[in-house]
């Protein structure tokens, strides 16, 4: 119970910071819409809807990457992360709270990106929506941990995409499969498996990323 309260407090802190400063979310929203517009011009005339479905996933992954690169910025300033690590709470709660607040951001992005995609390219199916929800869980779980790793490095924003993209390939496979396949259930199940496996791994290993 105490653990859940810690997670809720930490996640609320992130959301309040964003509501007050409005640093990240407006930039992500503008980025995802701009990307979709660029993709319209990148697709040759006569390209089919299937190609557009693939590009939707690319837009979502890159937008998430933009948000993840900023996700630990408040903690980095004035060494606030050290204070959090010293706080009397389980360290994995810090990761879970950050992943939860990032999930809220990504849900807001999806609420804009999916209708925009439907208006500009092709209709969005329920399978795509389910795929986006499941993929966002995986992106938040893995991305938050990798962003914490990148935050400890000198190259930060430069190294995060290199760390994240190879791990995002299975999510893109699952997401695109759920959008275009005739058997979306297999791909959604795969996304669920990815989420479960990596969430447990990230939850168990976060402590080592922030401590010495």
């Amino acid at each position: 119970m105490r653990y859940a309260a810690d997670v809720a407090t930490l996640a609320r802190k992130d959301l309040q910071l964003e509501l007050r400063a409005r640093d990240t979310l407006p930039a992500m929203l503008l980025f995802v819409v701009s990307t979709l517009v660029v993709f319209h011009f990148a697709l040759p005339a006569g390209a089919d809807e299937l190609a557009a479905q693939g590009l939707l996933w690319l837009a979502l992954v890159f937008t998430a990457l933009l948000g993840l690169a900023r996700s630990w910025a408040p903690e980095r300033e004035s060494a606030a992360l050290d204070g959090l690590v010293l706080a009397p709470c389980d360290r994995s709660a810090i990761w879970l709270a950050k992943a939860a607040s990032t999930f809220v951001f990504l849900a807001a992005i999806a609420l804009v990106a999916l209708p925009a995609f439907a208006a500009l390219f092709a209709p969005v199916t329920w399978e795509t929506v389910a795929g986006v929800v499941l993929a966002n869980v995986g992106i938040c779980a893995v991305g938050t941990l990798l962003a914490a790793m990148a935050a400890a490095s000198r190259t930060r924003e430069l190294v995060l995409p290199l760390l994240f993209l190879p791990l995002a390939i299975p999510l893109v496979v699952g997401g695109v499969g759920a959008s275009v396949s005739e058997e979306p259930g297999r791909f959604l199940a795969f996304l669920g498996l990815y989420d479960g496996v990596f969430a447990i791994l990230c939850w168990a290993s976060f402590e080592y990323v922030v401590s010495e």
């Binding site: 000198r154 791990l167 299975p170 496979v173 791994l201 290993s205 990323v209 010495e212």
Partner: protein
Amino acid sequence: MPALALGAAALMGLAVVFAFFVAPQDADQGISQRIFYFHVPIALTAYACFGWGALKALLLLWRKDERYDLESYVAIHQGTIFGALTLATGSIWAKASWGHWWLWSENQLVLFLVLFLFYSAYFMLRFSIEEGPRRANISAVYALFGVVLIPVSFLAIRLAENVIHPTVFTREGPQMTGTMFLAFCVAWVGITTLAYTLYRVELSGKRLDSNLRDLREALGG
């Protein structure tokens, strides 16, 4: 260590002899099939190196002994080299068999490309963090992600593509003649010994480097 190096060289020589002169010519693929005796053992060795690196990473996180950090790094370094060799030999085989240097339908090769990108990022991460326990921990966690990524990516690639890669090892056992299997085993042992020798050589070099640095610091240089 010299004995180990000699042993590795002898086994590699034996593997070349077996692969080119003892094993019979494949009726379907001809001479190009002989790269199989190197491609598959190199790929298996790369997997073994990644697994060994992850095991050492786990030991580091568990026992907090910093010597495992260097061992994990060296194993992953060797794994990445053998991974690059797998991509090269696989490409050559694909060109000889199917006329293309790269085929997205070749699942194992695509998996190695993903792993190669993943482990290349490991070095980018490692060398952009200040040396110390924090770097050791972060590198170890990333190395553990690698061994989880292998089956997950494999499953993803299988889901994404149709399977046309020749499956030599099935549940019914290896689909080749006794001499071919013997040549394969000799090459496998040879390449594994070679990888272990390189691992030991690099590890002792890195340890010497680290000891020298400590000594220089102790002397106030």
